[in-house]
Symmetry: C2
Subunit: 587 residues, 2 copies
């Protein structure tokens, strides 16, 4: 294959357009082959093949710097910058990450996984270049729904002031993960319709120069446009009209399903694994049922309906009680606060990794105002997403230290639905619920479904000497620790704290009477989290505390079982530690 000869972008420079078109076909073939076996971002990469080739043909990376937004659209870029092996042979598939990664290549400048960041990051490269008196083009590649994010809009607004070379390629594939939402996409449509000639132009209104490329999957057109803006002396937007999923029929016909895919049969597009129902799926089903009886309930997503069961069918059924704000988490939280203030019952579902984008809105717009909205935090766990940019390890410290917010950690199906129902109707405070990531399970003990007395923990089994406070996803691990202790003659207490955001001082005081060790387990980073509150509480007392969770670090594509073991998050290890500590006390 020709692609095997491309060791660096320099090897592209001598190719004809026809040869590059052949190269594009090969890249697509490799993309589909790898994605069908490995899974990954499909539609965004298929749509960007020609533009990536043209960028590397025209510009001189890494002197000229390409920054890909979200960077899940950088697979072709990886193939053209010395990393094709990771797409050619299955044993090398995991040699590269699914995002740009400076440790892999000098052609990658940032680790980027969250959307809407590239204009600002690349803008920094351009400003740094100017400060140091250097030269070269800086190119940000944005789009695929990320323009609606506040950071992208802040970046576009600022870019006009840079006053030097800066090229912003807007990959307009008419999609976000789901369909696009927001008024600006109507302007993009108008620009497509008028072939860029419309006087009303978002980018020009932001103070930026602008060119339009109608055939965004045509290499010759792209080369012509990129050549025209190369070495330009001011910021400019190059708006390219591409087709998400280009070259793979199933991905073109159902763009949302094919944004990111699990392994599939390349011939038919059928997924290889059967999907099992999760708590996320259960959520949309339950909410839809509640919505029919209560028209003031409103589900809100920030461009990621599929992550919590909002299929196109369910969305249609929910009608105006379903709101997709596009990728705009800040707006989503403030909107929910406003709806709650007006007497509505908003439920905003958002991944742990993405709720980070709205800390200030949770604190200021929602919690200072104490409006009773519900946040559902999805995937919050050490065991869910394991790309460094998508870690869901930090939501506990992020949310549990904000005043007024009640943060709940359900441990089983009955408890989750009871908390969700309670939260929807509760009018006193905003409530966040950490939706379980473990397989759906029924309760193994009578669940206390009264949450009105805040920060009241449930004692599942009353023992003595050792108490285990096992939060959310780690409740089962805690129960297992208690069984191990039991097997060695220690009749430990097992507690489901239920509330992440506060300490049950009465219970903790009571435990101190006949417990010498209190153990906490939480499925997230330890620093700033739940266990430390318990450690502080018992700090001045004779009760000893052991806190389990992950140490503070960024980790990438880790083995979940190895990661848990490295943090001693294994029932036998924890039981050993407890015995060690008890022995130390005795001798």
């Amino acid at each position: 294959m020709m692609i095997e000869q491309i060791k660096s972008p320099a090897d592209l420079k001598g190719l004809t357009v026809t040869e590059m078109e052949q190269l594009a076909a090969e890249i697509r073939q490799l993309l589909i082959a790898k994605l069908s076996k490995h899974g990954g971002h499909c539609g965004p990469n298929l749509g960007m093949v020609e533009a990536t080739i043209a960028l590397h043909f025209v510009f001189n990376s890494p002197v000229d710097k390409l920054v890909f937004d979200v960077s899940h659209q950088s697979y072709a870029h990886k193939m053209l910058t010395g990393r094709v092996e990771a797409f050619l042979s299955e044993e090398h598939y995991d040699d590269v990450s699914g995002y740009t990664e400076p440790s892999e290549s000098a052609h990658d400048h940032f680790i980027i996984g969250h959307t809407s960041t590239a204009v600002s990051l690349a803008g920094g490269l351009a400003k740094g270049r100017d400060l140091r008196g250097e030269s070269g083009n800086v190119i940000a590649v944005v789009g695929d729904g990320s323009l609606s994010g506040g950071e992208a809009l802040e970046g576009l607004d600022w870019a006009a002031e840079l006053g030097s070379n800066f090229i912003i390629v807007v990959n307009d594939n008419q999609m976000s993960i789901a369909e696009n939402h927001g008024g600006l996409y109507a302007n993009l449509a108008e620009l497509r319709r008028t072939k860029g000639a419309s006087e009303c132009n978002l980018f020009r209104a932001m103070g930026l120069d602008y060119v339009y490329v109608d055939r965004g999957n045509d290499i010759a057109s792209l080369i012509e446009a990129f050549s025209r803006v190369k070495d330009i002396d001011h910021p400019i937007v190059v708006h390219i009209n591409t087709l998400k999923g280009m070259g793979y029929a199933p991905a073109v016909s159902d763009k949302e399903r094919w944004h990111w895919t699990m392994p599939f049969d390349a011939a038919t597009g059928q997924p290889l694994a059967q999907e099992v129902e999760t708590y996320n799926e259960l959520t949309a089903r339950h909410l839809l049922q509640r919505m029919k009886a209560d028209k003031s309930i409103c589900a809100i997503t920030a461009g990621t309906p599929g992550t919590w069961g909002w299929t196109p069918e369910r969305r249609a059924e929910a009608g105006r009680q379903y709101v997709d704000v596009g990728i705009a988490e800040e707006h989503a939280v403030a909107l929910a606060s406003g709806i709650a203030k007006a007497g509505g019952k908003p439920v905003f579902g958002v991944a742990s990794s993405f709720v980070q984008r709205a800390y200030d809105q949770v604190s200021q717009d929602l919690c200072i105002n104490d409006n009773p909205a519900t946040l559902l935090v999805l995937w919050g766990s050490l065991m869910s997403l394991n790309d460094v940019t998508h870690l869901c390890h930090f939501d506990i410290p992020l949310l549990c230290n904000i005043p007024n917010l009640v943060y709940l950690a359900p441990t089983n199906r009955e408890e989750y639905l009871a908390m969700l129902d309670w939260s929807i109707d509760y009018r006193e405070h905003p409530v966040a619920i950490r939706v379980p990531v473990v397989p759906i399970a029924a309760a193994e003990y009578p669940v206390d479904t009264d949450y009105s007395e805040l920060h009241h923990y449930q004692v599942v089994k009353r023992g003595s000497e050792v108490a285990v406070l096992a939060l959310g996803n780690f409740f089962q691990m805690g129960a297992s620790v208690v069984r191990l202790l039991q097997a060695h003659g220690v009749d430990a207490t097992l507690i489901n704290p239920r509330f992440i955001s506060g300490v049950d001082a009465d219970l903790l005081h009571e435990l101190a009477a006949d417990h010498s060790v209190v153990v906490t387990l939480e499925d997230g980073v330890l620093d700033g989290g739940f266990g430390e509150k318990i450690a502080r509480f018992y700090g001045p007392t004779a009760v000893k505390t052991l806190c389990y969770g992950a140490r503070k670090q960024f980790v990438d594509r880790y083995s979940r079982s190895e990661f848990l073991a490295a943090n001693r998050l294994v029932d036998t290890m924890i039981a050993d530690d407890i015995f060690d500590l008890m022995m130390r006390d005795i001798y």
Copy 2:
């Protein structure tokens, strides 16, 4: 005065335009009288007097709902909604807050102090109204520089999809706190120049309907425009051209200085109190000096240059090494990351309360990429800003739990400048420095200015039995506690931890040999902060810990001394607690 007769907006309805103009003059008189004695937001309120009168004349608050962005421009609104007493007599000045406050009046719907939130919050009221099948106008009043904030742009983009009544009044006073920055302001200028006729229109590009009011301080024009959009069936922007500081000559001629003011002589505009030099002021002076020798240093502000000494003169001197991105904290952090990646040395100064707006950018754009930018966190303290929307209590838990970020807490002048110099040139990790809020003081002991060994605390005085870890602004309180203990025969250890973001495990282990009590002091909320890490560290040991800081709560306009006492943040109280704990151990 006529204003004394206005008990509610209903009392406006019978007035003629001439009478309302008289009312505007009275409101200005009261504003200047109160501001000159009390301080507060000056320019924004003076510019909005006519628009506020016209809004209340045309609309029927609180059935029609007015939401003021930032809400520091709501003083005239307060006077017209039953709260004029708080502007008439000095003893009532503090009866109302400087922001909208639902607990004061049914005409206020949210507590708002951060910028760029009103479109989203008001959008929520509109959506809630629609869900519940209610009616009435919802009006968001935005502007005064807040359009550049990502949340505002996300909100505008979304608003187009609401499809029902929603009126967005853009108060275009051509200013942020300092001059406006960002390309969109050029579009606003173009719209003013063309009296709203320009085809290129940011708001239309966001999918919104639009009208322009050229004479934004003319009551008749405003009434005409607001009447036209009242009860409209879709979202619309009303762009009004106002004059910041209108009616008070000093505030018109120096808009930045008069955005917010301390008490002043109303006749001359001269401030009543002499300004003392702070660490903030020291920062710009020091940076400017360093910049002259190193052209790769770049100071970044998000629309608040004055808060850290960037006077117009210093800005001019810094030239392109000074960047004001406008109110856009997310962009500022990502920009800093990019500049650092390109080899520049960016320093972003941002208030503790506002760094909250960029948590995800600090985590993803900066810390995952581990780029060596410097963040200066201003005002981080329980003793600085005391409006609930501007609390600077939360930056420690927010930042100290993010991997890779080195967070430093200097305690004196020499240490602060040494940390700043070190951070500027350090290339390993991003560094945040909590700029002291206490009066500038020289070191009272030899300062260890080597920070290369991360998370290495400085032992200032080695004793035994009790160790006091006194962080940043509370170092002096810790020293005082140690002196009180000394006076009672306890030779305690005094430690300046210097690093907020990590634990000096070697030192803590060593202390355990001859200390039974370890005390932590931090000038922020306790939950998720520094002390809890120490408590967790000693959890499994015999060492007892006492953590001092503020309990997790939102507080508003509190007495600083009472607040500290309520949290036992008083040297004598802490010493008492320590003695109590030591006694308990003995008996």
